[in-house]
Amino acid sequence: MAATSAHPSTTATPPPARDDAYERKLRARGRRGRLDVKLSPYLYISPFFVLFLITGLFPLGFTAWIATRNWNTLTGDGGVAVCGAVCDSTDPSIFANFQWVFQQSAFWDALRNSFSIFLISTIPQLIVALVLAVILDANLKAKTFWRMGVLLPYVVAPSAAAIIFSQIFSDRMGLVNTALNWIGIGAIPWHASTFWSHIAIATIVNFRWTGYNTLIFLAAMQAIPRDVFEAAVVDGAGRFRQFFSVTIPMLRPTLIFVILTSTIGGLQIFDEPRMFTEGTSGYGGSNNQFLTVSLYLWDLGFNKTTIGQPNMGRSAAVAWLLFLIVVVFAIVNYLLTQRIASSGGKPRTKKKSAKKVSA
């Protein structure tokens, strides 16, 4: 009721009674006003929650349901899933799709590739972004120009960038291999090799996100109070010492945020490997060199053209596995970052305070 009493039309001093009609009008307005105050907050958040219910929450549960079914994309629900010959079982089971997926070597290849590409892209990207942020965090001339410059690739769609980079990293005579031939190193199988294709795809990811993360780090650096640096200087810290003992620990919340979003995005990578394929060599490479979990999900549910396929049940099972992996990895990364980022600052202050107590 506290909120209601704040409503002006109910607490305002009673107006001089002129006639009944006026009073009735006012009273009606008061009732409506009270309802207005009570319901409006819910009304305002309801579009988000209704839409999220339809496009987010319901699909979450629905995916879990589909994952237990033998659900053909074209003909629909075909009853409880059966694993079949792959795991010597003709019994319907709600875990059959998961069992089937676990028997596929392609799934494990995809899992390995997703992790590998995620690691190869995230780690160097964050290091470079940190370095660039330090460079930008200075009294540069034409600040906005440099900041816009590093952000430019962000507006290029990953699927489009992947088509360009597929040419640049072309195995036979791409730009990079031609250059490598000139300086006598020799061509690198950017598409054919597992490792090198991961490097190439990671480059596409870094192309788009390095500048973006640089700006996030830069903003966080500029938010660090300057007297913290001054204190470090008085303690005799050089530029490098300041970076590792002041900047990094002070960036902790930002580091955690960036690493979490990179994890959630990185493990789902689809556009880049999908469009990295050369010509008609299919998706994910001839030996699944760069087949990712998302590509595999798409292939199972939407791409397979043989009889009995595509199978949305199996696709949904992969989607749920991907979800669990992302959640587990996000938690692991969160804990790791807390550890790493705090080791610069916390133990030292502990030591210091301990000294003070003993003194």
Binding site: A2, A3, P8, V37, K38, S40, Y44, I45, P47, F48, T55, G56, F58, P59, L60, F62, I66, I135, A138, N139, T144, W146, M148, G149, V150, L151, L152, Y154, V155, A157, S159, A160, I163, I164, Q167, S170, M173, L175, T178, I216, A220, M221, F229, V233, V234, G236, I264, L267, Q268, F270, D271, M275, T280, L297, W298, F302, A316, A319, L322, V327
Partner: protein, 305 residues
């Protein structure tokens, strides 16, 4: 900052402190005031050049006179057929249809995300109601759910139940709101909209929704503009879901049209790259006008987030 002379520091703090301070003062104490050397400019120039090379290479391949699947380094030298190749690709992807579709989807999603996020953000940040805390926590929690988890059921729901397979509305529906948008506007309005303004409007007899239109929405403008821009870019560069739900109707969305062109004309990369250029460059052009806002948007979000 209070400037203690280096000599005074030498007296009280010893040589080490004084030297450090002198060194630091030469660099000027705050890192904001640090005078960068030519190395900084060289590194930044190199980074920007590296990120422009792929775009240049795409344009250069698109301008080649002879068709090929591989061009190697000779494509670093532009040919003279850029307009011819572009106009061929222009026709193949039915550019105006794909462009119009992309603009439509991006605009509708951005406008709706901004409106609904501002409404919810206003409610979460400035209005009191039962369940506010848990509901806001729920919104933040949903930001971690991978979008791809939902593609299988969305394909069934939107494509089959609603019968929107191949339609642009199928792309729009999942993009109407984002949890990030709600979180972003809540954060912003928390600090940008004083309670006094809301109360003043209420005192004047404004209804709740009128208060929102007259007070909250104008206060939310800067953050709303940034949210619009980010949602616009996110939808424009969207690929996975549009590719799934458009099916054979590839030419109604730019990224999907370019991908389809690659599949259809893989023997002629002058055309494939022309398609890529037609997809990517409208946004690059927009970037020259709106890049400044994008930069400040990312930086504003980072400090609060």
């Amino acid at each position: 900052m209070n400037q203690v002379s280096v000599a005074a520091l030498r007296q009280y703090g010893g040589n080490g402190v004084a030297n450090a301070a002198a060194r630091r003062r030469k660099q000027s104490v705050t890192s904001e005031g640090r005078r960068p050397g030519w190395v900084s400019y060289a590194i930044l120039t190199a980074v920007i050049l590296i990120s422009i090379v792929p775009l240049y290479y795409a344009v250069s391949i698109a301008s080649q006179d002879s068709t090929a699947t591989q061009f190697g380094a000779r494509a670093m030298i532009p040919g003279s057929s850029l307009w011819r190749n572009l106009s061929t690709a222009f026709g193949l992807i039915e550019f105006w249809r794909a462009f119009g579709g992309t603009v439509l989807v991006s605009t509708v999603c951005a406008a709706s995300t901004v409106l609904f996020s501002t409404l919810a953000g206003y409610s979460f940040s400035k209005l009191r109601f039962r369940g506010r805390g848990p509901l806001l926590l729920f919104v933040i929690g949903t930001m971690a759910i991978p979008t791809q988890l939902a593609v299988v059921p969305l394909y069934i729901m939107i494509g089959k139940w609603m019968g929107l397979f191949g339609s642009l509305w199928a792309i729009v529906i999942p993009g109407l709101v984002t949890a990030f948008g709600v979180f972003w506007m809540t954060q912003y309005l928390e600090g940008a909209l004083p309670y006094e303004l809301i109360e003043a409007a209420r005192m004047d007899g404004a209804s709740m929704i009128r208060t929102f239109w007259a007070v909250a929405l104008p206060a939310a403008r800067p953050a709303a503009a940034m949210l619009f821009l980010f949602t616009f870019v996110a939808q424009w560069t969207n690929f996975f879901w549009p590719m799934l739900i458009l099916g054979p109707n590839t030419n109604s969305f730019l990224t999907v049209a370019a991908a389809a062109l690659k599949g259809a004309r893989f023997t002629d990369y002058t055309l494939v790259m022309s398609g890529v250029i037609l997809t990517a460059f409208p946004l690059v052009v927009l970037f020259f006008f709106m890049g400044r806002q994008l930069v400040s948007g990312i930086m504003a979000g980072a400090v609060k987030g």
